[in-house]
Assembly symmetry: D2
Homo-oligomer: 451 residues x 4
């Protein structure tokens, strides 16, 4: 086929050179990803970050295509098991890259939390189910092709080079989302030299390593990843919205339950398109029709629902009034029951108006075979062909290796921080609450004022 | 107040320094703009261009703020009517910049076409209606403040400097959308040197002019604008989606009409949230609750409606199957009835499956006082204080002055271009149709084959 | 060989994949280009633009390499004379690209003007002379390889595709210098989408054309070129320095002549390294040792030479006091003798202190077979394989086609513009001179003052 | 005065708003900086990095101007000693920023090493000496202005805010050189968000601190600085050229000494312009006339000098043949005498053909009052006004605090690494030498070959 290109601000162009890939992009299931935001509620804080999983998926594909070109050009396998790249793996690599996020639901993180679904399972189901357009296209390649692609997603595929290119500490998925999220959020910390990293990539029997000369580029990638987590993904206000959304869905679920037994509640508040989801018996076909707009349209309706909690939470979400938060320092964790009580006393049901949320990450780690999720480490190839693990040679990576960062936060209604709420009957409660907060941290209040 | 900043990929930071502005951003009506895409269906072609009117509006505000700072610092009025900048105009300028797009509906262009609404009218209504949060914030400044801001939008405000900064051939609105749409679409033609242009800006009695030394920057802006129209705004595939969307709404309207008289049709296919809109009696409050997600959720439902036309069009829209098109060259316009007939014969009701769509623009024009919409021309100030109109001194702008560009296109179902549709009973119709198409243009077919 | 890369801010990396290219870069003649600035005196105006011909030459090579890769991958010739790309031309293309500027002297434009040399001749000589390291490396490929490369430079090479890739209205040389000069000067008008243009490139029998879809990118390139000429290359202050440098060399030549007959003048003021140049009997070996530093070191010495004119001009150059200028509008050309007389009366010998300098350019032209230097036009390939010349389809290029722009300027000592030079005996002369200047243009003075 | 702007690729525009600054830029001593490369020999490795100290100095000025504007706008002192910014310090800040590098000689690092000069001393002398144009302009401000500016350079100025803005762990000088060297070298690791850092800057009594919200931007700056050192400033090949240049000057000095006693050596090989320098009795006026071109022109002449060592080293420098190097790991340091002997045996006089060179740096350090050069630490201001040192709150900076990185290398002629030098009588020496080198490191050779 003649190459088809898609203009993309991150990679300039996405180049499609295989009819299968073009056909997959054209499927209903893949087009759905246009209607699912990549960063969910983060766009409430980073207003520029309104990009979709569709554009991210194209980006992962494009990076994988550049991987495949580089490996085929420079490291094609000459004999079986010589550690070279097998060009026959190209299509399975590109396909898995393109489809790796197919199973994401709207506002995926929150969604899975409430409905107990698993997007990786759905990705594999969409690939394997004979009902989907994606499966039909994949079967066009060969009968076992859907199963091969699904096994790459599941990381059980025999060729570990393919698996690591899609899923490791430095893979096509992460590289695209770091670059893309940095570009769209404007948080210009997430950039690194993609073309240099690709150029330094070398296959070996056990997977993918990097030329020693590429150390600086790989180091820069590790730091960028750290910075994006610290600045964007863990942003406390985004987490405040995530909590609101979680509580909306929790309340809608509870209220829907109630409607079945309580005649005063009209179950019609739940749109048809969401009913089987809330009833826990959603089919694959129904799942594939879900997207952000259906969730948002429901929340818009709930603004007017009779239940005051659901209506209030929906309004907070749409009109951008997130829950506020404080960092919980270790010594102050025991204060939580006391302040939760104050919040309840001020009229906010804690189940729907408070939350604890921990965000911690490990920016880089060496291989721990006994860890729950052992991570592939990053290897650099020296002049004589032997490999050294990244942190052995990078002062910077060695410094941060194995260190976790992030924090635990407690979320509550912003009203609790109102100052000089003259005439408000809750004012004394607010004032008492504020004795527990200093420099945006939860503290153990001192008798007679702070400090 | 302490300055509040919003990270923005186009301007790096949006700096808010006035409580009024911060309060306006926090209103329900302004937050709604988060849920309306700036470029509507264009994101079906430029997948990166998923940004909202919210981010554009913040951008226009930020540019206006930089205008105000520059003018106040360098050209503050010393005596009444000396042509200098009046710093008291700052707040009205910033407010009008921020709110200028408040009245946009979802997929605005198509929306207005079908429902006969006018977003500028709505913008003024939202500003002036005592029901809105925006109005309440504005009244906090002074009783006549809402009216002042509305008159800037209406271009009737006395201070023409303020009006031109928001609305002229080179204004805050255009500058932000060119930069932003270029950034998000990846069509890197739309960039120009914003800080240079601002720096060259000078007020005079009749409005805003530019220092002669800024000629290159202004020229570059004019060319960038031309390129964005040619490459992005007039893209034939985007227009193909606009036609599909228009026809969806047209069909939904017709079908809704039918449902009132035809018992076989269940009017329930129309979601509650859209009913008063389709009945032509929408209130301001209802209008303010409309957004892209409500439209998209409706189209998702219509995928399963009984009416085959509406269901088919909805599916084409969601699964990205735009109408195709050809350019209508002048000599071939008379072919339209013939090919429309072929399309009808192939089973596609022309009212819902075809369209003519003309896109023409004038990249730069000098002032024509008798024109329907006379445009302010761009003036450059020479060393001795006299002004010269841009095209008098720029070879490039002189060359394109007064030239229109763009084209007229005819849209039709992509099936008409199917080749070798073996076994398809419509194949002879398709083949006949294709005799009218050459190099993507509508032609007058030659007997015995093309050319 | 293993690929060797050079970090480059314009192309990110210059990739060298052939030992011959690496060896050529390592030659003495090529390394000399490090010591010759690409833009000569322009860095006196654009202080960032201090880059060398070495970096430009690497850039042209890199673009040519990308051309070759694109053409080989997509358009390799299948049969003789089918218009495809012949991969055997790769090395001659890359070599000619790398070496095309080898013959440039220091401050080339001025240099050639004064010494009557021709850098293209020198380039060919360096390639062909058995004395050079370059020639030795080229002969290593084959005996006739030096002659082949030289004929590409001379545009007489049989394969016109190769010639056009190096030298046409849209070639590797221009593309690199526009991008590079824009990058280093900070005059951000010169950018365009190089990778898109390369991607749209198609060979045909007569040379190189572009896919119709690449129209926007090519149009953007044409406009960028226009803007770089208007803003950078024709900058009046750069031209003021060029005039100073020209006059330094002219005076040094005259004074050196004088020294041969006038015993009072010590010919030793001329450094050994420049003597044979000024005597008009420079050898190739001597020419190859010339560079900017030798010229500059000489000018530094001349600051202290006995001749007041040469010493003054050298000081003006080093301490950055350019000649000033006015635009000569057609009607005012007849004023030149009068103002030249005023300058002479003020004590400045016109031969060394004034100059006329015309800079005009044609941003794009269609082919005129009878023109003195007929230019290849830019062709776009339509769907059916036929070609259309760029200006037939681009409104913008059509508008500027065949239009020249630029101006004629007259240069003079900046002292002539001194205002209120109280106590200066020349003050009345300055005042009279200033009657001829208005808005930086030469005018016909009006009796009784201007205006 | 009307603002004058200089286009700059790093800051877009350098804005000059004071006549004193414009006059200083116009002085002979400042214009000299155009002829001194910022990075010296590094441009032999990073060919794009040919920028001058002139452009860096303008950049430092521009950053300082933005500092001053930010501080005056937001933190102007309201009462004596309230820790606010004193707007009267503006001019001394801008002047010190502009002039801080005035005293640099050509290839400064090497130069000072050989001639025992100190550029900071020279900067102060140029500012204070009544002979210079710079001093004359400064005296125009006030009689004590030169002394004030010099004391900022010397860090003894009373106002520590001014001193820290020019010279601390995060100052205008470092910020410009990191951004500029990254831009010109193309080593895109050195970037950070300058405007954000400026925006977060806050004065306090003891100096300059940063708003807590700016933590990420400051952290990013610290990492960028580390990366630029690791990738650019410590590049082993640059250091190989520095060693060649050092040895050229050392040999020229020794040879010049010899010429005084040895009649066979003609002292004329030393250009007039360098004589007093090499004789150790250079005057300020002579110093100010030195620049890169004078050094380079001398080296060009020395290519042909009779002394084979000086001629050979000059040729290696001009034709780009650096000394090669290996990293000295601690355990292998004792091998140095043995390999130095091999080098001498191969005919290379160790004094001129070998060198040890250590490059180590501390990317960030907290304050150690007893350190030889105690560094100001970076402070962040919390909500309640108290300050915390950066590494207390940044996981990343805490990880690297106090860690040095870099390495020690040994340099030698590249011939020592020649492989299979068949027929070369030195071949056995080379082979023996190569037993000490593995993976670019100096090792203790193993009996019977490596591994």
């Amino acid at each position: 086929m003649v190459e088809t290109v898609f203009r993309d601000p991150v990679h300039n162009f996405i180049r499609v050179q295989d009819q299968v890939i073009l056909d997959l992009i054209g499927t209903r299931e893949f087009q759905r990803l246009r209607r699912i935001k990549q960063l969910g509620v983060s766009s409430m804080v980073f207003h520029g970050a309104e990009h979709s999983r569709f554009s991210h998926s194209l980006g992962v594909y494009e990076i994988a295509r550049q991987f495949a070109d580089h490996l085929a050009e420079n490291y094609t396998m000459q004999a079986p098991d010589d550690g070279g790249w097998d060009p026959n793996e190209r299509l399975v690599l590109l396909t898995a890259a393109l489809l790796h996020d197919l199973g994401h639901g709207p506002y995926s993180h929150t969604f899975e939390h409430i409905f107990g679904t698993d997007h990786e399972q759905y990705t594999q189901q969409i690939i394997l189910s004979p009902e989907t357009e994606v499966n039909r296209v994949l079967r066009g390649v060969s009968d076992d092709f859907p199963a091969k692609v699904a096994s790459v997603i599941a990381k059980t595929y025999a060729n570990q080079q393919v698996v690591q290119l899609i899923s490791s500490q430095i893979d096509a998925d992460r590289m695209d989302y770091l670059l893309r999220d940095a570009y769209y959020s404007g948080a210009n910390y997430g950039t690194f030299d993609l073309s240099r990293i690709i150029h330094m990539m070398r296959p070996y029997k056990g997977g993918i390593a990097f030329n020693f000369k590429g150390m600086a580029a790989v180091e820069d990638y590790v730091v960028s990843r750290y910075q994006m987590y610290a600045q964007v993904y863990f942003h406390p206000v985004s987490r405040g919205f995530e909590v609101v959304l979680t509580n909306i869905l929790r309340r809608a679920k509870d209220y829907f339950e109630l409607s079945k037994t309580d005649d005063m509640i009209d179950g019609d508040f739940m749109p048809k398109s969401l009913r089987s989801l809330f009833e826990g018996r959603i089919t694959l076909t129904e799942y594939i029709e879900l997207d952000d707009s259906i969730m948002l349209a429901a929340i818009s309706e709930w603004r007017h629902v009779k239940d005051p909690i659901l209506a209030d939470l929906a309004t907070r979400f749409l009109d951008r009034h997130p829950l506020k938060s404080v960092e919980i320092e270790e010594g102050a964790r025991s204060m939580l029951p006391a302040i939760t009580e104050l919040i309840a006393a001020a009229g906010y049901e804690p189940k729907y108006y408070t939350a604890e949320n921990d965000s911690f990450d490990l920016p880089y780690d060496a291989y721990h075979p006994n860890a729950k999720k052992p991570q592939t480490q990053i290897e650099l190839v020296q002049k004589d062909g032997t490999m050294r693990e990244l942190s052995e040679v990078s002062t910077l990576v060695d410094a941060i290796k194995g260190r976790t960062f992030g924090n635990a936060r407690f979320f509550f209604p912003r009203e609790m921080l109102l100052e000089q709420a003259v005439g408000d009957v809750m004012a004394p409660l607010y004032e008492e609450f504020q004795r527990y907060v200093h420099n945006d941290r939860l503290i153990r209040p001192v008798e007679g004022g702070i400090k």
